[in-house]
């Protein structure tokens, strides 16, 4: 059986991370992984909630070397945690701060770990080993698990590093959490598998991001999203030079990409992927709208659906986006938005089917529907345009419904606004046609309408 090493850092002194202004060596990382793996409680399934990216990486690696599976749900609401327990009854979480706010047994990441002694060998992991289970919102209201095997993940992030030209040591700071596919792949696994060093913090405000980036040696990368990039460029008059900018979660507007490249004096590359396939393509946004697939990845049209196959994608997988091949080339394509049911807000993905299920599961809601606005403004482009919802719920107030939804769905999907009607304009088959939904929205937005709020 083929195996692949846990990290690509050949020399024990090579930097794996930067914490508190100091490099962490591969030697220390392997020692920390060994220590944490020995301390983890029984239980095969782990929810890794570490906010410190280095501690996340150590915990992830400790789980991998001890044959545990890291669970990556799309949100941490009480309802999702209940579903995690149903799917994986032995699940516990690893946290590096007090009160993670999740109803699961907690293992606290050790505050102090011993300084590394003798050099440990880099563990080799079987390519077939399942190391993560990522959950998407199924349209039936239940989370859908996707198994991620070590071999496929490693091939994926190596292809990414190759595409980005990351062949020697580099440092990276990221504004996205490690706990979803983009963060897991680009900010943890890619640096581990291409000799990079990750910055342990996850800076939030623009000034934090600039300071973290400036603290790193070059070459250095910033891994971010369109909405972080936009606020950063709008707020910070002066930004530190970078060597590469990486963006994903929503397509970036070309003028924003131009501005970012000029201000950071670095090329900006966008990554395209999804939970099911991982990352499969990239584009230099300022060079054109077309995406180029990673080496060995091919796209195939079948009716309205486009499938990805080859490379790390072990079985052909349908994509959730509306895609057009350029000149029938299976490696170049244009992205025309998502299929109607999928929604993506600030990198969090769900489906209208899932959200509608959760809305209608609230006691007292007789009927209800989420609607994604069609407007093509900047906020919609960057994937931060909020959803609206319309309900028939005679006995409930807006606060009742919002509180119930908060237990069930991620806060980014909470409706703004939530509106009340006597009945929804459903057609004879019980469907709510798109034009009827948009007409309802137009009515709601009219300043003359005042009777729909509670």
């Amino acid at each position: 059986m083929s195996t692949l090493p846990l990290i690509a850092h050949r020399c024990p002194d090579a930097s794996v991370a930067w914490r508190d202004g100091l490099p962490v060596s591969a030697r220390q990382f392997l020692s920390d992984v060994d220590q944490v793996a020995g301390l983890l409680p029984a239980g095969r399934n782990v929810l890794n909630l570490c906010r410190d990216r280095y501690r996340f990486a150590v915990t992830l690696a400790a789980c991998i070397v001890s044959a545990r599976v890291s669970l990556l749900p799309s949100t941490y609401t009480p309802e999702m945690v209940r579903q995690m327990r149903r799917i994986a009854p032995d699940v516990f979480c690893v946290a590096d701060q007090e009160a993670p706010g999740v109803d699961l047994p907690v293992f606290h990441y050790p505050d102090r770990l011993p300084t590394s002694g003798a050099d440990l060998a880099i563990p080799n992991i079987a390519g077939e080993q399942v190391v993560a289970q990522v959950f998407t919102s199924g349209s039936t209201g239940l989370p859908e698990p996707h198994l991620k095997r070590w071999g496929s993940l490693v091939r994926n992030v190596r292809a990414e590093a190759q595409r980005l030209g990351l062949t020697r040591g580099y440092a990276m700071v990221a504004t996205v959490p490690a706990q979803h596919m983009y963060g897991l792949e680009s900010t943890v696994l890619m640096p581990l598998q291409s000799g990079g060093a990750l910055h342990a913090t996850r800076p939030f405000f623009p000034a934090d991001i600039c300071a973290a980036l400036a603290s790193l040696p070059r070459p250095r990368l910033l891994v971010t999203t369109p909405y972080h990039l936009r606020t950063l460029l709008a707020e910070s008059a002066k930004v530190p030079a970078a060597d590469l900018l990486l963006s994903a979660t929503a397509p970036l507007a070309r003028d924003l990409a131009h501005a970012a490249e000029t201000r950071f004096a670095a090329p900006l590359v966008e990554i395209y992927g999804c939970t099911e396939t991982g990352q499969i393509a990239s584009r230099r946004t300022t060079s054109g709208a077309a995406w180029q697939t990673f080496a060995d990845i091919r796209l195939r049209c079948e009716g309205e659906r486009v499938w990805a196959e080859g490379g790390h994608v072990a079985t052909p997988t349908p994509l959730g986006d509306v895609i057009e091949l350029v000149d029938a080339d299976p490696t170049r394509f244009l992205l025309h938005g998502r299929h109607a049911d999928l929604v993506n807000i600030a990198g969090k993905r769900s489906s209208l089917g899932y959200l509608n299920y959760q809305l209608n599961a609230i006691t007292g809601v007789l009927d209800g529907v989420f609607i994604a606005p069609l407007d093509g403004d900047d906020r919609a482009m960057e994937g931060i345009r909020r959803l609206m919802a319309v309900v028939v719920a005679p006995g409930l107030t807006s606060a009742d419904i919002m509180q119930a939804l908060r237990q069930r769905i991620d806060p980014v999907f909470l409706p703004r606004p939530l509106l009340f009607v006597d009945e929804l304009p459903r057609n004879a088959t019980g469907k709510l046609p798109e034009h009827a939904a948009q007409a309802l929205l137009a009515r709601v937005r009219s300043p003359m309408t005042t009777d729909l709020k509670r």
Partner: protein, 89 residues
């Protein structure tokens, strides 16, 4: 509370409502109610938007390590207090 502080608090409330396109009147934000989660229901995307308009209007940048963020964004009153102390314009 001084009149100037009251005025500042109203201005911050207006900034929040305008920046986030909230469907409420600025006066409807209770000064002590939580901005995050329950209460006004803001999340981290909103906080970044608010940070942006705050820096533009008051001439200083919010930093995670400069103070306790959860406290600063705890309520309209605490955000106003922080702005009053840190503003340069």
């Amino acid at each position: 509370m001084t009149e100037a502080h009251c005025e500042l608090q109203s201005e911050v409330a207006r900034l929040i409502v305008d920046a986030l396109n909230l469907d409420i009147k600025p006066e409807a934000i209770q000064p002590e109610a939580r901005l995050y989660g329950e209460g006004l229901g803001l999340d981290s995307i909103d906080i970044l938007e608010v940070a942006l308009v705050v820096s533009k209007r008051f001439g200083f940048q919010l930093r995670t390590d400069s103070a306790d963020n959860a406290r600063i964004f705890g309520s309209l009153a605490s955000l106003t207090e922080h702005i009053a102390a840190a503003r340069t314009q």
